[in-house]
Amino acid sequence: MSADSDHEAEVLRLARVLGVAPGDLDVLDPVPLESVRELRDTVQDRLLARNHDQFARAVALADRVPGALAAKLAQHAMGPVLGGRAAALLTPAKAAELAHRLPPEFLAQVACHVDLRRVGGLLAGISTDTMAQAGAELRRHEEWIVLGAFVGYVDDGRLATLLDVFDGEALLRAGFVVEDSARLDPVVGLLSDGRLDELLDAAAQHDLWVQAAALVGHLGPQQSERVGRAVERCLTPQALADLVVQIDPDAVAGLLAGIGPDTVAQAGAHLRRRERWTVLGAFAAHVADENLAALLDGFDDEAIALTEQALRESGRSGAGPSLRVRADAAARTQG
């Protein structure tokens, strides 16, 4: 997730809490993300404290009336905003019972208004089936930021099942705005190779390559490598070359890191034939050193010089060693 999208997502969360449109918070554009988040936490705490007694009484009432009536009151009297706020005072057992009785459409609305710092612990008691149905509603309404926030509060075992609810586009869009980016590596680890291919198909279909690459940027070596193999399965070398021509290679760097030498060499050959030296320079900057030899193998001295020059002019290589030196050093290390 980029700094801009992080900030945009945080402003949207705060707007939800304040009950205003995100545009009403334009005054916060220059305010650092951490401060916007701090303000959200502060406002959520105040709104819960302000009517704490009334929320506590509503929760107490849920224990005194039949479950069906409690659910009806939650849905039709409190509604999703107050219901989401009062949820912070529920016991895990009551939360599970109410969630079971409430329709998924309403639960999805409540999910948009809960303070996950306070109710995250209640999720463990809610059945996976109920969460899957509410999750499907959130997906239908394209609530990517809400879905991305919940990822931090659901354990891997349940996520493995819940991920099946979401198509590649949803996984990419929600993954891009995940609040706890440390969760991305284990989440991708739960996806089969087939699902990784689905993600990349969705990236191609919906022009989400930047989102896909940003997501890969949060992965460890093992999952990055799996995505690299998926890139090789889903994109021909020519399609990969087209992608880096079409999109700034810096923006899709995460996708380039895990691809193997053959694909690097063939994609590089396509770019060389088209004399796209600037793109080649950027491409070379993101290719793993151990694959540079494969990239340069088919290049004559002039092509290497032009690629090197583009790399230098882009400012990506700095005062670092030349491509040939990097490739040779990597070959020696491997040898």
Partner: protein, 70 residues
């Protein structure tokens, strides 16, 4: 993360320092948005109480009223 600025014992909203640093207009705008949200919550809570009493079957209204209104 910036430290809360202007925290006061009377429960006034303590805004992050970086928001206060944006100037009095920004600070006032944010305080007004929070005040609006608080006023809206008060209205919604009142409406929810009325609505709840309308939803519950008549024989339960006494209990519900007692629990909700104390």
């Amino acid at each position: 993360m910036s430290a809360p600025a202007g925290a006061q014992a009377d429960g006034a909203l303590a805004l992050p320092e970086t928001i206060v640093a944006q100037g009095p207009e920004v600070e006032a705008a944010v305080r007004a948005l929070v005040a609006d949200a608080e006023a809206r919550e008060d209205r919604e809570v009142d409406a929810a109480l009325d609505s709840a009493l309308g939803i519950v079957p008549r024989p339960l209204r006494g209990v519900v009223r007692k629990v909700l209104l104390g």
